[in-house]
């Protein structure tokens, strides 16, 4: 059991590091991004990475209360991506 827990701790550290690096790299793309589509895509990726960070924090602490947080982040991320894309496409969100 101790070796399994050690492997789980190492995997948790690797997941935290890769998700945080993903946030940083997609923020670089958000600042560079030559077109509007790249910026929307980078924001969508950052929302999804934040969702992954919340899920991994939930595994690390061993509690279930982060489920509602991640569900809300997923819904808000989808709605904000569609709203941004629609604003650039049509100049208005709800016509």
């Amino acid at each position: 059991m101790t070796s399994a827990l050690g492997l789980l701790n190492i995997a948790l550290v690797i997941a935290f590091v890769s998700l945080a690096l993903g946030q940083v790299l997609s923020m670089v793309r958000l600042m560079l991004g030559p077109t509007y589509g790249d910026r929307i895509l980078a924001l969508d990726t950052m929302v999804i990475n934040a969702l992954g960070l919340v899920v991994v924090i939930g595994i690390r602490q061993g509690v279930q209360i982060y489920f509602e947080v991640s569900l809300l982040i997923a819904m808000l991320g989808f709605v904000s991506t569609v709203a941004l894309a629609r604003f650039i496409l049509r100049g208005d969100i709800i016509e």
């Binding site: 997941a15 589509g37 992954g52 899920v55």
Partner: protein, 129 residues
């Protein structure tokens, strides 16, 4: 080797697979040099990467006693909404002419995203009068 140990190992393996997909997708977002190509990479983050992390969360909940399946709800929501947002971003790329514009359809010209059908223009003109 009891069931708890196997579930803990499975959690660790799912976490490693998920973080691998996350890092590969984000590197693709940063390194590719065409907007449509860049659109292809981070969709793997949204589906396989986060799906594996949620699977690890479920497995860990079963290993630690009180099992729960309601991470499947987030997984289903992400799998449903990922193609929709990717389609919207692709339409943004097409409309801002940052990629190669798709060819116009041969017979019917009402489906293309760049061309509005004649009926809509007639309705618009009618409203303005």
């Amino acid at each position: 080797m009891t069931l708890d140990v196997i579930a803990t190992y499975a959690t660790a393996v799912f976490l490693l697979i998920g973080s691998g997909f996350v890092i590969v997708g984000v590197i693709g977002l940063l390194k590719f040099n065409d907007p449509m190509t860049r659109l292809h990479a981070p969709t793997k983050v949204g589906t396989i990467g986060i799906g594996m992390l949620l699977l690890a969360s479920m497995t860990h909940a079963f290993a630690s006693g009180d099992g729960s399946l309601h991470e499947l709800l987030i997984m289903a929501f992400l799998f449903v909404t990922a193609p929709i947002s990717a389609n919207f971003i692709a339409k943004v790329n097409i409309h801002s002419r940052t990629c190669e514009v798709p060819p116009s359809p041969s017979r019917d010209d009402t489906w293309s995203t760049l061309k509005s059908p004649d009926l809509d223009q007639e309705i618009k003109g009618g409203v303005q009068e």
